[in-house]
Every structure is written in structure tokens, then in C-alpha cells.
């Protein structure tokens, strides 16, 4: 029953893709320029008579083949394979995210355990949370003096809040009963933290991490456009400056794919720590 439905859904997905590609080809179909050459030249200058310049699916397909057939080449600062660019981005996201975990988990634990700390820090969190991570960029560039480190900092700051808030919330809402069990068993604070509170709050914490990772991947593209040098975001910007739209489209699809894989990864982790209560 479910398998049958999955098959039908896959078929439908393929159909939608085919329709989309068909519509795209039709829209970018290049008609032959009409009659006289002077007029044609003029029309071309005015951007008329020819196609819109938007790449056809075939052109984009070419870009896919070229880039994916040699993902790790390196021919100077402005010409690197897509694998290298994505690796740079992932490295920044990974490092910034790891730093955010290192701060958000202990701090979130403390906030979740202590209502006093929660109330004291709440105004700061509320104020800092809605700030676009990119708004920090000038400050980061000025004080850190390194574009690479600034990118990592921006990822750190944007991943911090969802994790911090979810950790605090998860820790604060651990069932009273479980804490009481630990208390009657005279369980030490460390063991209580790691064997009772952490597993109890883990699903909430991982939800926070998943949200953070999603945001981090959104932000890295924008940050790299600003900072330049390497990374998938810079690649997009660079290809835009080259007016190589097929490459831009290729990069956009890659960004989507990597983001999807990252999200699925955290989805898996989330499933791993989720427990059934009833």
C-alpha cells in the first residue's frame, strides 16, 4: 500500500520535473533573427529579436557536466572546482556551528537549570536573536581582521540562538518525575546531567541544532558573497560577475542539494535520540 503510493509519488515527481524542464526549454527557445542584418544588429543591441539570454536547460546541463566531471581542480584564485568551493563552505559552517554548540549547550544547560539565570539573560537573548547575522559582518571584519574568521564568526552567531533557546527549553522542561528519581537515588550532578537531563532534552536540543544548521547554510552563501575568496557563495557571485548564468543555476542547485543532505543528516540524528513516552 505504502510502496505503491511511494511509486506513484515518484512518478508524479518525475512528471513535474519533466513539465518544468519542458516549460523552461520552451521559454528560452531561440527563434531565428528576422530579415535584414542592420535591423538585426539593432534589435540585438536593444536585446530584442533574440532569446532573452536566459540559459536553456541544455546549457545548464553542460555546466553540470563540466563541473561535476572535474570537481576538485584548482586553477588559481578565481577558478576552482565546485567540490573545493563546497568544501570551503562546509568547513566554515562546520567550524562556526561547532563553536556555537560548544557555547550553546553548556550555557543552555545553565539557563535551563536556573530560573534566575534565565530571567537575567532573557532580555539579551531576545535583543540579539532577531539581528541578521550579516549585520555583524562589519564589526567582525573590523575586530577580527580576517575575512575567513569573520565568516566563521557570522555562522557562529546565527547558529547560536536556536540551539541556546532549545537547549534551555528542553532542559527546563525535563519531567519532574525523572529528576525526582535521580534525587532519590542520590545521583551526582554530572551523572544526572549526562544520563538523565541530556537524554531527556536531546530531542528538543537536536531540533534546535537542525534549525541552526539550516540557518547556517542559508547565511554562509550570503556571507561568502560579501567576504569573497572561496566558497560556494563566492562562486555564485563570481559567476554572476562573469555573467555565466548557467554556472549560477548550477551553483544554486548545488546549494539546495547540500542543504538538503545536511538537513537529512540532522533528521537522522534527531530520530536516533527521540524516545517514545507512552
Amino acid at each position: 500500500m505504502f510502496r505503491k503510493q511511494a511509486f506513484k509519488a515518484a512518478l508524479l515527481s518525475l512528471l513535474i520535473l519533466a513539465l518544468f524542464l519542458g516549460a523552461w526549454s520552451l521559454a528560452t527557445y531561440r527563434k531565428d533573427a528576422p530579415a535584414t542584418s542592420a535591423d538585426a544588429e539593432y534589435a540585438a543591441l536593444m536585446g530584442k529579436g533574440r532569446s532573452t539570454g536566459f540559459p536553456t536547460p541544455a546549457k545548464v546541463g553542460e555546466a553540470f557536466v563540466t563541473y561535476l566531471s572535474e570537481p576538485f581542480y584548482d586553477r588559481g584564485p578565481n577558478d576552482k572546482g565546485i567540490g573545493i568551493q563546497v568544501t570551503h563552505s562546509l568547513w566554515r559552517v562546520g567550524l562556526g556551528f561547532a563553536l556555537a554548540v560548544a557555547v550553546a549547550l553548556p550555557l543552555g544547560f545553565a539557563i535551563g537549570m536556573s530560573p534566575l539565570l534565565f530571567q537575567a539573560l532573557d532580555p539579551f537573548i531576545q535583543l540579539l536573536k532577531p539581528i541578521s547575522p550579516l549585520a555583524w559582518m562589519p564589526l567582525a571584519l573590523y575586530s577580527l581582521k580576517d575575512s575567513d574568521v569573520s565568516g566563521i564568526f557570522v555562522i557562529f552567531i546565527c547558529s547560536l540562538w536556536p540551539m541556546l533557546i532549545n537547549t534551555a527549553f528542553g532542559v527546563a522542561s525535563v519531567r519532574r518525575d525523572w529528576i525526582n528519581v535521580a534525587r532519590t537515588l542520590e545521583v551526582g550532578p554530572l551523572r544526572k546531567a549526562f544520563q538523565v537531563i541530556l537524554p531527556a532534552a536531546a530531542p528538543t536540543i537536536l531540533t534546535g541544532m537542525r534549525i541552526s544548521m539550516g540557518i547556517a547554510w542559508l547565511v554562509i552563501v550570503a556571507a561568502e558573497m560579501l567576504v569573497g575568496g572561496t566558497g560556494i557563495g563566492y562562486f555564485v557571485w563570481n559567476e554572476w560577475n562573469n555573467l555565466a548564468l548557467p554556472n549560477v543555476i548550477f551553483a544554486v542547485v548545488m546549494i539546495g542539494l547540500v542543504g538538503m543532505v545536511l538537513d537529512q543528516l540532522f533528521g537522522r540524528l534527531q530520530k536516533l535520540v527521540t524516545y517514545r513516552e507512552q
Binding site: 518525575d177 525523572w178 525526582n180 532519590t184 524516545y275 517514545r276 513516552e277
Partner: protein, 262 residues
């Protein structure tokens, strides 16, 4: 002062006022004693503070006045000397049945080897008839089985005293009967001292040596302490043939229906 194993003296609990008027204490002037190996049940209507008394005995809550003395020492905070079976079983859902009991056993004997812990847990889980479900998660168990794990967990640390907060309240009558029998068997085999909250008069008569009757809250007090004079060998299936059974039962029910109000 009597030389009880556990004595409760002048216990009082009042919660801080919510508005202008001060809250009257939930209960006050609670005195009773429990001898070693005794099984004491406490009965009373909701709101008389039974659970609070149990939590104070467990050390989970602080009384507003009075003291609890166990084995010559004042109860201050929770301790491995007192095992608690919680109303809502309170099993950790991410641990297996064995893991839940092992968590308690490792707390009591941190230096035991893994094998020793496992053997000990298996023995106690076997006692409650769960030898076959060691590696299941609590979510895969029925309500009765979950409560059994809770009981095994409390017994496994071999506490000096066992505190049960209405452990069978959420179970159907059939399941409740079997677990009562199991509890009775284990208590008799181990000579465990038990303090238990219940709403069920028959359960109290079956299990208890002594039944504490609480008047209604607020300002609840101990109205009576009834000795169950029937022989200890009573069982669920034949205790209602005992000539004393209905006399005791009527006494308890009359109290709950008519006399608990004042």
C-alpha cells in the same frame, strides 16, 4: 518517645500565600510511627496531603514544621535508604527495562562490575515476573508492566524503607490484583518496611499491618490509626472469608464516607 524505626513528629505543611490571605496548612500535627518490617497504608480523600507526606518521608519536599526521624537520624533530603515507587511509574523512556533498574543499582553500588549489576537487576526483574522483557523499552510495555519495573527498581537498591505513592491507581482491577500478590510476596520474603498511599480500602486491608486514616484537607489530621488484626497469611482470594474482614472494611468505608469531614 516510642522507639519506632521511623517516626513522624508534628509534621505540618503550608504553602506560601497566593493572594492576600495566608493559606491554611494542608495538614498539621501529624504524628505516627512505623516499626521495622511493618507495612503501613495511608488512606484519605484527595487534597489531604498524602502525597506531600510521602514526599517529605522521601526527602523530596521540606515540611513547614515537625520532623521525620528514621533509624535514629533526621530525614534531610532524599537518600538511597528510602526507595520510592512513583505514581506515574517515572521510568526513563530512553533506557531499556534493564537499563532503568541498572541505573538505580549503579547509583547504590557504583563499584560493582557490569556483570554483577546485570545479575542483580535480572534477579529483581525476575521477582516481578519481567524476566522476559529485560531489553524492551518502557513504551513497549503495558501500564502494569511499567509499574512492575518501578517496583523492581525500588526493591533492587534494597532500601531500609519503601515508599509507594498509589502505585496501582492507574491499573485495571485484574492487573492490580496480580501485582498486589507479587508485592505481598516480595515484601514478606524480604521483610521490607513499607509506607504506601492508596485509595483502595481492600488493597489496604490485604497489604497493611496498620492503616492511617486522614481527615480531609486543608488542616488535615490523622483521624485514626487502624490495626489490621487479621492474620498476616491472608490472601486476596480468601481474606473476605475471615470473620474480621467485613468489620474492618465497614469501619474504613464508614470513615471515608461519613467521618472524614471533620
Amino acid at each position: 518517645m516510642s522507639m519506632h524505626f521511623l517516626s513522624v513528629e508534628g509534621l505540618r505543611k503550608a504553602y506560601p500565600a497566593s493572594g492576600a490571605a495566608a493559606n491554611p496548612p494542608v495538614f498539621e500535627d501529624i504524628h505516627f510511627g512505623i516499626g521495622k518490617g511493618e507495612f503501613v497504608c495511608i488512606i484519605g480523600h484527595s487534597g489531604c496531603g498524602k502525597t506531600t507526606i510521602l514526599n517529605v518521608l522521601a526527602g523530596l519536599e521540606e515540611p513547614s514544621g515537625g520532623a521525620v526521624i528514621m533509624d535514629g537520624r533526621e530525614v534531610k533530603g532524599p537518600s538511597l535508604d528510602r526507595g520510592v515507587v512513583f505514581q506515574g511509574h517515572a521510568l526513563m523512556p530512553w533506557m531499556s527495562v534493564l537499563g532503568n533498574v541498572a541505573f538505580a543499582v549503579k547509583s547504590k553500588w557504583p563499584d560493582w562490575s557490569r556483570a554483577a549489576v546485570e545479575a542483580h537487576c535480572t534477579k529483581y526483574l525476575g521477582m516481578v515476573g519481567l524476566g522476559h522483557a529485560l531489553h524492551k523499552k518502557p513504551a513497549e510495555l503495558s501500564g502494569g508492566m511499567k509499574q512492575r519495573v518501578g517496583i523492581a527498581r525500588a526493591f533492587a537498591i534494597q532500601p531500609k524503607m519503601l515508599l509507594l505513592d498509589e502505585p496501582f491507581g492507574a491499573l485495571d482491577a485484574l492487573t492490580r490484583g496480580t501485582i498486589q500478590d507479587e508485592l505481598l510476596k516480595i515484601v514478606q520474603a524480604t521483610g521490607q518496611t513499607v509506607f504506601m498511599i492508596t485509595h483502595d480500602v481492600d488493597e489496604a486491608i490485604l497489604l497493611a499491618d496498620k492503616v492511617i486514616l486522614m481527615s480531609n484537607g486543608p488542616l488535615a489530621k490523622i483521624a485514626e490509626i487502624v490495626d489490621i488484626t487479621m492474620p498476616r497469611s491472608r490472601t486476596r482470594t480468601d481474606m473476605h472469608h475471615d470473620p474480621q474482614f467485613y468489620r474492618i472494611r465497614n469501619h474504613l468505608v464508614d470513615f471515608l464516607v461519613h467521618r472524614s469531614k471533620n
